[in-house]
Symmetry: D2
Subunit: 345 residues, 4 copies
C-alpha cells in the first residue's frame, strides 16, 4: 500500500481525491491537510465521508512529503509554489493540481496569473501531466503539473489534428462550458446559488488563464506557434464540462474519416472515447467518470469541423487525471481505481 498525503483536502478537488483513493486498491490515505478546518475530522467537513474515512485535518507541514509515496497538492494557485523545492528534496512523488508549474515559460505567469514565479528553475522539471501526450515523461518524473480542466478537454479534442495538415491552425475557437464546481468551494457572489441558477453566462472572454496552457501544448504538438480564441461559460450545474471546438478544414473530410483517424490516434487510450460519426459529446455521459468523450461533426457547408469534447471537470479535469498520473508514476496499471462508469441519470 502506498501512503498518500493530500494538501488542501477540504476543497472540492481534495475531496474528490479522497473519494477516488478510498476505492483504490493500492493506496492508503495517511495525511490530509487544511488550514481552515485544521483539527476537525474530514467527515465533519464533508458528511458524505461519514463512516468511510476517519482522518483529522492538520496544517500543511513541509515535512509532509517525507513519509509518503505520493503528495497531492490540491491548493489554490501560488499557495504551495514556494514549497516545491522542499518537497522535491524528499523521495515522494509530487502531483500539483494547481497551475503553478504548468507553464514552461516563466514570463507567462506575470502575463496571465499576475504573479512573478518564485522558482522558474523548477518549471522545466515539472512534467505536464496529460498522460495521453506525455506518458513516457510522467513515468520517470518525480513532479507532475496536473492539467487544468478546460485544457484537458480542448487539447484532447485537437491533438489528433495538429500534424495532419488538414486544418487551418489559425482558425481555432473553443467555446467551453463548465459546471460551477470548477470555481472551488470558497463562497463568492459568483458561485451563489441564485446568481448562477437559471442562467448561462460567459466569463473571462479573451483572457482566461487556461489559454496559455492550451497554446503551449497545442504548439508543441503542431511544431509551430498555435493560438486560439478560448471562451469559457458558466452553466447551472455542479459538475461537467463541454468544449465545442471549431477549426477550419483545408480539404473536404467526412465524419467517418475523422472518426477513423481519431480512433487510431487514441487506440491505446483507456479514457478517451471517440464517439460514432454523427454523435455529439454530452457532459452527462461522463459525469463522475474519468472518461473524455469526443464527437466529430463536419459542417460541410462551411468546410469547418466541430469537435465536441466532454469530461467531468473534477475527475478527468482534475483529481481523476491526478490519480491516473499517480498510477503511471508508481508503475501501477494506469486504469486502477478509475474505471467506474459514469452515473446516469
Amino acid at each position: 500500500m502506498f501512503k498518500i498525503a493530500i494538501a488542501g483536502a477540504s476543497g472540492y478537488t481534495g475531496l474528490e481525491l479522497i473519494r477516488l483513493l478510498n476505492q483504490h486498491p493500492n493506496t492508503e490515505l495517511t495525511v490530509l491537510t487544511s488550514e481552515t478546518f485544521q483539527g476537525q475530522n474530514i467527515a465533519e467537513v464533508f458528511p458524505s465521508l461519514n463512516g468511510v474515512v476517519d482522518l483529522k485535518l492538520q496544517p500543511l507541514d513541509t515535512r509532509i512529503a517525507d513519509d509518503c509515496a505520493v503528495l497531492f497538492l490540491a491548493l489554490p494557485h501560488t499557495a504551495a509554489m514556494d514549497k516545491l523545492p522542499i518537497f522535491l528534496q524528499s523521495e515522494c512523488k509530487i502531483i500539483d493540481l494547481s497551475a503553478d508549474y504548468r507553464l514552461q515559460d516563466p514570463e507567462a505567469y506575470p502575463e496571465w496569473y499576475e504573479v512573478t514565479h518564485t522558482h522558474p528553475e523548477l518549471l522545466k522539471k515539472a512534467v505536464y501531466g496529460l498522460p495521453e501526450l506525455h506518458r513516457k515523461s510522467i513515468e520517470t518524473s518525480q513532479f507532475v503539473a496536473n492539467p487544468g480542466c478546460y485544457p484537458t478537454s480542448v487539447i484532447l479534442a485537437l491533438a489528433p489534428l495538429l500534424k495532419t495538415g488538414w486544418v487551418d491552425l489559425g482558425s481555432i475557437i473553443s467555446d467551453s462550458k463548465s459546471g460551477v464546481s470548477g470555481a472551488g468551494r470558497k463562497p463568492s457572489l459568483g458561485s451563489h446559488y441564485c446568481e448562477v441558477n437559471e442562467g448561462i453566462s460567459p466569463y473571462g472572454l479573451g483572457k482566461h488563464r487556461h489559454t496559455p496552457e492550451m497554446e503551449q501544448e497545442l504548439s508543441a504538438l503542431a511544431g509551430e506557434s498555435v493560438r486560439l480564441t478560448f471562451s469559457p461559460h458558466l452553466v447551472p450545474m455542479t459538475r461537467g464540462m463541454l468544449s465545442t471546438v471549431y477549426i477550419n478544414l483545408k480539404q473536404s473530410l467526412s465524419d467517418d474519416e475523422l472518426v477513423k483517424h481519431y480512433r487510431e490516434f487514441y487506440q491505446d487510450e483507456s479514457f478517451v472515447r471517440v464517439l460514432n460519426p454523427g454523435k455529439f459529446a454530452s457532459s452527462q455521459h461522463v459525469l463522475s467518470s474519468n472518461f473524455c468523450d469526443i464527437g466529430l461533426k463536419v459542417d460541410a457547408r462551411n468546410q469547418r469541423l466541430i469537435i465536441t469534447s466532454a469530461l467531468d471537470n473534477l475527475i478527468k479535469g482534475a483529481s481523476g487525471q491526478a490519480i491516473q498520473n499517480m498510477n503511471i508514476m508508481l508503475g501501477l496499471d494506469e486504469k486502477t481505481g478509475l474505471m467506474a462508469p459514469a452515473i446516469f441519470p
Copy 2:
C-alpha cells in the same frame, strides 16, 4: 380594446402570450384554442392563471379570425400552414409564431424542414417580424412571420456589422445555448428532467432548422450571400438563451469603438441594450423581459470579435416579440405591455 385570439393556447408560447396580454392595457383575450385540452378552462391547464384568466379552450375554427383584431398562431410547425389563405381573407392581423412563413425561398422548406410548402405564393406576403430590421414593413402588413428565438439573438448580434466592411463574412460561427422551454411542452425523452438536468449537450450541429432563417436575414443585410456555422446547445434551465457569436475582424478595432457603433445602430431601439465595453451578456439579466442584451469583446490576440447576445427565448425570442409586432401593426406604442424589467434572481 382590441379583441385577440390565440391558436395553440396550451403550449408555452401560447401561455406566454396570455400572460403578457393579460397585462396589456389595449387588448382583450376573447378566443383561446387547443385541440388537446378543448373544453377545459385555460386555468385548469395552467393553474398559474387561476383567478386571472377565465376562458374555455375551443378547437381551432377557421372563422376564428373573423371576430378578432389580431390572431396569434402559436402552433407547431405546419399545423396552420394550410389555413393561412382563409385567415387572410378576414381583416384580422395574423402573427404566426411558427416557422411556416419565415423563409422566402420555398425550396428551403423541403431542405431544412422536410416538408413541401403548400402555399409558396404567400411567402412573399409574410413580413419577417424582427422590428429592429423591418419595422416599416410590419406597420403596414396584415401578416407577420414571427422570428425564431435563435435567429433573433444571432441576427441582432450581427446586424450592425454586416455593412461596415470591418469583418470577414465567411467566418461567422454562432455557438448558442438555450433553456429547455424552447423545445415546447410536449413530453419527450429529450425534455425529461433527468435527461437534461446536470448536463450540457449540443444538438442539431450543422443542420438546425434555424440556420436558413439566419442566413436569409444576414444575407439581406449584407447585400451578399452569407453563411454561418450554427451550433445549438441545451442548457439545464427552463428559460433563457445566449448566443456567443464569433467573427474575424479585417482590421484592429477596440471594444469602445464597437460599443459606440452598436449604440448608434440601435439608438432608437427600446429592447436592445448594448452593454458597456468589457461586459458580457448573460441570460439571467433578461429573464422574463423583452430585452436583448448585447456585449462586445475583441479578442485582440486573434483579431476576432466575440459578441454575446442574450434574451428570454419565450419573450423576445417568441411571444414578447409577437406582441411587439402586434403593437406596431395596430399603431400602438411599440413598448406597450412589454417594459417589465427582468426578474432577478
Copy 3:
C-alpha cells in the same frame, strides 16, 4: 406620485421592491441605499435594471424619511432597529421587512434572535402587516412590520381553522420548503451553488426564528396559546415556498366542506386562492406573483387535515406583501401593481 425610499436596495428583497415599484403607476423611486455598493448605480449592481432604473446608491441617512411618502427597510435584522424612533418622527410611512418589530413580546427577541431589543416601547406601535388579518390596523398605521415568508404561508394556511373548533390546536406541524433566495444575497457556504444543488436539506429544526412569529399570530386568532412544530427545508430552486401543514381533525370533514369554508373566509381577498378540492398547492404556480395558493386534503384514514400553502418568498413572502401594505397605508387600491400572474414555466 408618491416618493419612495428603499433602504437596503442591493439585497434581493430590495431589488424586488424596485422591480415591482417600477411597474406601479402611483410611485416614484427617489432614494436607494446600500452601504456595500454606495456610489454605484443600481444597474451596475443588478444589470437586469439596465435601461430601466437609473439611480445612484447612497449610504443610509436617518433623514431619508423626511422627503418620502414611504420608506421600505429591506435591511438585515437589527441593522435599522435603532433608527426607527428617528424615522417615526417624520410623516413618512415605514414598512420594515426585517423581523425587528414583528414580535410584540420583547422577551422573544433574546430567546429567538439572541439580541436584546433596544426599543421595546415601539413594538406595540408596529402593526403586523398581514393584510388578510390586520387590514384595518394597517390602514391607519404609520409603521408596519412586514411578515416573514414562512409565517405568511403558514398563518394563511391555518387562519380559517382556528376558531372553528374542528381541529386539535396542539397537533400543528408545518413542514416547510423554501428556495435559496430566502437566505439573501450575501455569499456563504450554505448558499454556494454546489452545496445546495441536487439536494434537499432540513435546517433549524425546532428552533427557527420564524416560530414565535407564527405562534403569536395563531394564538391571537385562536384566542388561546397555540404552539407548532416548524421544520424548514432548503430546496434547490431560487424562489418559491411551500408549507405542508398537518393538523388533527376532531370530527370528520370532507375536502368539499373545507374548501367551502376557506373560500368564505377568504372571499374578499384578492391574493389568496383556495384551490378546488383534491388540488394541491405548488410553488411554480405562484412564482413571481403575489398570490398565495392554498390546497386542502383530508387524510380520512387518519382524521388529519393536510394543508398545502404556496407563495413566492420574495413577493407575497416579502416585497409584494410590503407593497400591498403600502397600497393600504396610502389609501390606494390594494391590488395596484400586484396583479401580474405567475410566470410559468
Copy 4:
C-alpha cells in the same frame, strides 16, 4: 462469477443495477432485456456505458432465469407479475424491484394499485427485502420483493422506536421529498424539465401506493396495527430522497438518548448511519451511495420527535438495496460492491 440477468435494463433502476454490478467483483452480466430497445446495444441506449458494457438488449423470455444465478426484475408494476411462477421453477434467485410481491395482503392490491393480484398464493413466498429487518429470511429465500424507496427511508427511520413504548403510534406523519428519477424514464408531463424545475410540489397526498407497504412493516415491528400519514413531494433534482418523520413522544427524551438508542439498534448495520445529536440528514451526503443517513431531533417545546432520513432513491431505495439482497442470498459479504462513498458535490 455469478451470472446475472436484468429484465428491464433500459429503465433507470435497470441502468443502476448494470452500473453497480459492473463494479462488483463476483458477478457477470449475461442477459439484459428491454422490449422498447430490443436489438440495440445497451451502450446505444445509455452512452454512459460506452466502452464499459457491451451487451445487446433482448426481449424478455421466460426461460431467462434458467441460465442465471440471479434475475433482477426492474420492470413496471404488474409487467412480470404473471411470470413469477415460471421463474420460480428454476433455481435462479429472483429479486423483484417492482411492488408486485411486496404486500402480503392480496386485498391491498385492488385497494392501492387498482389491480387484482393474479398470484396471491406467492405473496407469502416473497420475502420483503429490507436486510436491516429481514436478513435471516433473505438468506434462505429464492424470491425477494425489493422495497420501495419511500418505505425504505421511512421504515428505517422508525424501526428502532416501535417497541420502545416511548412514542404515540397514532401520531406518525412522514413528509417525504424525492428527486425526479423515482418516476422512471418514461416521458410524461409530470417529468418534463420545465414542469418540475424551480418548483416544489406535493402529490398523491393521502393515497400514495407506498403507504400500505410502510404500514405493513411498521405494524409487524410494533406488533399492532400502525397507520401513518404519508405525504410525498417532488423536488427539482434528479436523485435523492429525504423523509422528515414526525412522531409524538410519550415522555421527555433527549437527542443524545435517542441517538444512543438508534446506534445500538443499528450497530451491526453497514449502511445505516445514525448522525450525531443535532445533525440533520441531507440527501446530498448519501448521493450515489448505498447509505441511509438518519438524524434525530427532539422538538422539546412540543414533545415531538423529528426524524430525518436520507437516501439515494436509485441505490438504497432501489438497485443498491437489490444488490445488497443479492449478496445476502448468494452468501457473499453483504457490503460487496456497495461501499463507494457518496459523490459530493
